[in-house]
């Protein structure tokens, strides 16, 4: 302390903006400024996503937007399970594969239209995935992650080796959405509904229980609640999002194959969550909006693509490890100033 007498120590102090504090009361509903402050970020996200297909230069980039939304569904699911329930799942590809194949079977065998196959694949697929993951639910942390990673690899090999469900060729002749605008807005609309539903869910009482499972599963048991049941519920919700995105995917590509069990569907949502900011739910969507188009742009570089991709990821982790959304929220709600220590 004596050493630093000449150079006064300073630190940055963060203080909530006045408008943020005012918005915490019910009175904020009487002022346009406060109401705008609350609703503007949400409105911007909704409007931005809805406007995206309109500003895209062509069919190719419109398709990219659909893929962004599919990954975003997975990423929101990953974020929910990892940051609100404490289960780190690498099973994105598992959910996509199961949902995709189910939709494909329902469409080709029973000629159901996409409007029926997508909800059916979501519910049946999520049930299937939850049942298959049930034995792994007592596992925690990295062990759960590794087991969930094995499932898609396993299923892909099974389909390949037994030559069932079209084998390596996959299932072809699946109905499309009938129009690119229908396709675009079906996916975007679904993403928005899921995003806001999950945001609402984590703040309800049952959402608090799920967050309790992450914080402290022993205390949940001591409170007379079955931890495995709540974990299963959370896995079901995540699996439903994953299966839904898989079902959308096969109807967009009009083809279902073992590439739906590819690791991309497990890894990219995690990368997007890291970039976008874990625990924010909207962050992973923003992460996908950056990562998926970037990986498309990098296609020109051929094999070097993965190098650039890795560099971008590393840069984000080094310089903005908290994630875009956390950073943006902080800037939005707080201001900084230097104070003397």
């Amino acid at each position: 302390m004596i050493m630093n007498q000449n150079t006064p120590q300073r630190r940055r102090e963060r203080i909530d903006r006045g408008i943020k504090v005012r918005c915490q009361g019910i009175y904020s509903l009487m002022s346009w400024r406060e109401m705008t402050y609350i609703t503007a970020p949400r409105a911007a996200l909704i409007a931005g996503l809805l406007a995206l297909p309109l500003v895209m230069p062509g069919m190719y980039w419109q398709r990219v937007i659909s893929i962004v939304c599919i990954y975003a569904l997975l990423a929101v699911g990953f974020d929910f399970l990892a940051h609100f329930v404490g289960l780190v799942s690498l099973g994105g590809a598992f959910f996509v594969g199961v949902g995709g194949y189910l939709a494909a079977i329902l469409n080709t065998a029973w000629a159901l239209p996409p409007i029926a196959t997508i909800p059916a694949a979501t519910v049946i697929g999520a049930t299937l995935c939850t049942l298959l993951l049930l034995p792994c639910l007592p596992l925690r942390g990295v062990y759960f992650a590794i087991v969930t990673l094995m499932y898609p690899l396993f299923l892909a090999r099974v389909i390949e080796a037994l030559d069932i469900l079209g084998g390596t060729d996959g299932i072809m002749g699946i109905d499309g959405f009938g129009g690119r605008w229908t396709e675009q807005y079906a996916v975007i609309g679904m993403l928005l509904i899921v995003l806001f539903a999950v945001r609402r869910l984590v703040n309800t009482d049952i959402g608090l229980v799920l967050r309790g499972v992450k914080d402290n599963d022993q205390a949940i048991r001591a409170s007379g609640m079955n931890v495995t049941r709540y974990k299963a519920l959370a896995v079901f919700i995540t699996a439903a999002m994953g299966c839904m995105s898989g079902a959308f995917l096969v109807h967009i590509y009009m083809w279902s194959g073992i590439s739906q069990f590819a690791l991309d569907f497990s890894i990219l949502p995690i990368a997007a969550t890291v970039i976008g900011g874990g625990g924010t739910l909207a962050g992973p969507v923003i992460g996908c909006l950056i990562l998926v188009p970037v990986s498309e742009l990098l296609r020109d570089f051929g094999t070097l693509r993965i190098v650039f991709y890795a560099l971008i990821l590393v840069a984000f982790i080094v310089f903005r490890s908290e994630g875009i959304m956390v950073y943006a929220q902080r800037k939005y709600h707080q201001f900084e100033r230097w104070t003397q220590v």
Binding site: D215, A219, S223, G224
Partner: protein
């Protein structure tokens, strides 16, 4: 005792590998009493708590709650019957504000059936009920304390939060694993009346303690454990006077003075 005991523990044994943590420990707990369990470090006190509440699998023995054997049942089922516990190392939900910690136990099937502490079978809004419980347990309602992030609360409040979580379930028994430890003298002084009030409300308590002075004040009976065996059991005065207890628990003569103070 005319009534059958509320909780009967019969020949409880637990081995961890070659270590015998508990060897045939038996004791009864009667409705409305406070049973103290004391013993030196490593004598198996916490193992008893874990064993009764289903947090570990017992090697052998029976635990009868109202005549039903609950040994071997999963922890959440035992808690659902009203046999609740606190943790020695507090286990709150650190990422939530204090009052939301109670929304979680109030969501449990038992709380929904009973309505939570003081609930007459109907559970109101969980946030309000949670704050009511916190107020009774010593969180100043109109201050900011119940709304503070749990991670910023001092130990005294966290210990109370542990008790509050049990109360939210409208418990029949609370097994307190060292609720006094780590507290300042004044915090303990405010905790003792709280324990007495719980007893007056008809809750049976098992208290595991190292703070003998306070324990002997509230407990109706005290059981002494040593190396996983039951050394003796009796009213506080008897336990205090017992030579074996002094020797086993304290080992040396000079600490006798502490006992005399207590």
């Amino acid at each position: 005792m005319t009534q059958a005991p509320l909780l009967q523990v019969k020949e409880l044994s637990k081995t961890f590998g070659g270590i015998r943590a508990l060897e045939k420990v038996s004791f009864d707990v009667h409705e409305g009493e406070i049973l103290g369990i004391i013993g030196p470090n490593g004598s198996g006190k916490t193992t008893i708590v874990n064993g009764i509440t289903g947090f570990i699998r017992l090697t052998s023995g029976q635990v009868l709650f109202r005549g039903r054997d609950i040994a071997g049942k999963p922890a959440h089922k035992i808690a659902d019957m009203g046999v609740t516990r606190t943790f020695q190392i507090m286990r709150p939900y650190y990422s939530l504000p204090a009052y939301k910690n109670l929304v979680i136990p109030l969501f449990s099937p038992r709380a929904r059936r009973t309505g939570g502490w003081r609930g007459g079978g109907r559970l109101g809004d969980r946030h309000t009920v949670g704050i009511d419980i916190l107020e009774e347990i010593g969180f100043e309602r109109d201050s900011h304390v119940p709304y503070k992030a749990t991670a910023t609360l001092p130990t005294g409040y966290l210990k109370r939060l542990e008790l509050a979580r049990c109360l939210a379930l409208k418990p029949e028994i609370i097994i307190c694993d060292e609720v006094f430890s780590g507290l300042s003298m004044s915090e303990i002084a405010s905790m003792v009346p709280l324990i007495e009030r719980l007893q007056m409300d008809g809750i049976t308590l098992i208290m595991i303690e190292h703070r003998l002075r306070e324990l002997f004040k509230v407990a109706s009976r005290v059981m002494v454990l040593n190396f996983g065996r039951k050394l003796m059991e009796g009213p506080p005065a008897e336990v205090m006077a017992d030579a074996r207890v002094k020797e086993a628990y304290f080992g040396s003569r000079e600490v006798r003075e502490v006992m005399d103070h207590a």
